[in-house]
């Protein structure tokens, strides 16, 4: 069969691979090359070595600020979203009245797109909450920071909750029973039985929330647009702004994008390693 099928590659593989080349491979390779070039369009690129990278880090437009601001945001949001999602999941698997409805409600915000979410929360936070204290989301970068945190918590906790619930449900009943017979308290059962068994779900959720935090763009754009004076820009928005908001900075923008890409790929590799080593242990 394999040899029969092998001849059919133009039908089976070619469409996807062509589109993959147009949509990803070629732009990726060109982007990598252009990060070492001075350019404003694709046709006038001249090689300048590492100049763009130097410019990116010296940029007064706030790349280094965006870098630590994003890292802080991704870190804090990862902790909060997972704590909330896991707590809700642990309570919901007890199975009291209304759990299905609650699950449906908590998951719902996930389907709403980032731009719509950003505007929705801008109205609520600015008019509903902050107005009575005479401030807005763009008064300082920290209002934007915690505002964005509220949006992401609202949006993502339900997604993580779903993953944790299915992780909890896959823990075999006899393990929990054995713990109960041995006289483990609820806290001990959680700490020494459930959490270790949940490690795969925890790894996935941590990875998802961390990379989502780093890649966040739409919500950032709609909620604060990076104001005041680019101080609430996350990395993705800073890169976008470098490309399209300032003339002559395309090279530096592409260099920033490569640095950004390296960060996210590194996180992914660490996660892959963690998952693999755990698989070996089990």
């Amino acid at each position: 069969m394999e040899r029969d099928l092998a001849k059919y590659w133009p039908v089976f593989v070619l469409p996807t691979v062509t589109a993959f080349a147009i949509g990803f491979l070629v732009p990726f390779a060109m982007g990598l090359y252009l990060s070492f070039c001075d350019f404003t369009t694709l046709s006038n690129a001249t090689f300048v070595g590492l100049g763009n990278y130097v410019r990116a880090f010296e940029d007064s437009g706030g790349f280094t600020h965006a870098l630590w601001y994003t890292a802080l945001f991704a870190g804090v949001s990862t902790v909060l979203i997972n704590l909330f999602g896991l707590t809700v999941a642990l309570l919901l698997v007890r199975g009291f009245r209304g759990t299905n409805l609650f699950r449906t409600v908590f998951f719902m915000p996930n389907l709403i797109g980032g731009i719509v979410l950003g505007w929705l929360w801008q109205v609520i936070l600015n008019y509903g909450v902050l107005a009575r204290y005479g401030v807005t989301l763009v008064t300082s970068e920290w209002y934007g920071f915690w505002g964005l945190m509220a949006v992401m918590l609202w949006q993502q906790a339900g997604y993580m909750m779903i993953i944790y619930i299915s992780g909890l449900q896959s823990i075999p009943g006899d393990v929990s029973e054995a713990a109960a017979i041995d006289g483990a308290s609820a806290w001990q059962a959680l700490r020494y039985v459930k959490l270790p068994m949940l490690m795969p779900s925890i790894t996935i959720c941590t990875f998802l929330t961390l990379t989502n935090g780093f890649k966040l763009f739409d919500q950032n754009l709609a909620l604060t647009g990076g104001m005041p004076s680019n101080r609430s820009q996350l990395l993705a928005l800073n890169i976008y702004d470098t490309f399209y908001g300032r003339a002559g900075w395309e090279g530096a923008g592409q260099a920033k994008a490569v640095v950004f890409c390296l960060i996210v790929v590194t996180i992914a590799l660490v996660q892959l390693r963690l998952t693999r080593t755990r698989e070996v242990q089990q």
Binding site: F12, L92, G113, I115, V116, L120, I124, Y127
Partner: protein, 282 residues
Amino acid sequence: MAATQKRRHAADAALTAVFSMISLAYVFPLAMVLMNSFKRKAYISRAPFALPSGSMFVGLDNYRNGIRLTDFWASMLWSLVITVLSVALILLCTSMCAWYISRVRNRVTHGIYLLCVFSMVVPFQMVMFTLSKVANVLGLNTPWTIPVIYLGFGAGLAVFLFTGYMKACPIAIEESATIDGCSPLRTFFSIVLPILQPTLISTGILQAMWIWNDYLLPYLVLDLKRFKTIPIAVQYLRGGYGSVDMGAMMGMLVLAIAPILLFYFLCQRYIVSGVMAGAVKG
């Protein structure tokens, strides 16, 4: 025994009460937007929590304004065209590609697989500039042609999910079909595709959620004078100097969210299983 039973009932009732409160708080932002969409513009910031009664009530004025300002129905149509075409194209092409690379095993197919996995991690900012230029040159800037780009950029996740599922599928049925004289194409469409159905649904939902809500890719690629999607239309309400008609914005947010919620309540089961399937990525 009866006492512990009773305690447990009491605890469950308390949990139901607490979670009902949290659920209300979760739905509250949506209710608030709906309420404010019927309110005169000036009152949205002045009295965000008040019911739209008396002189505050403007009927459907906000909706009329918003639809006029953003050409909303056209945007919705284009969002629909792009999402449906892209998802159909992705499901057809990537399932064929995934079957081929999981049944014909050599260095090339393994390379394709690895590149697909890699592309899932790379942030969009890395390719955004070059991709938008390439798309322009190739004329992929209309709703009818942009699905090619979505196929390219979405191929990673889809191929990954399909190959994961096929690894677990027995090869014997396909082989017996071949022995009975089926061509690879016929084997694929009458044997493999039906077996793939659960993954087709979950992959389709994941891709549809992404494409429907996507902002930056269509914003950079589409010819915006002629075509906008819903997220682009919402973001366009923000005027040149950051001034926004908040009344119109409320109306548009409601119109943007309503179809998503409808879709969610109709296909909730599939959406949750789609999320579960997507969670193993990475």
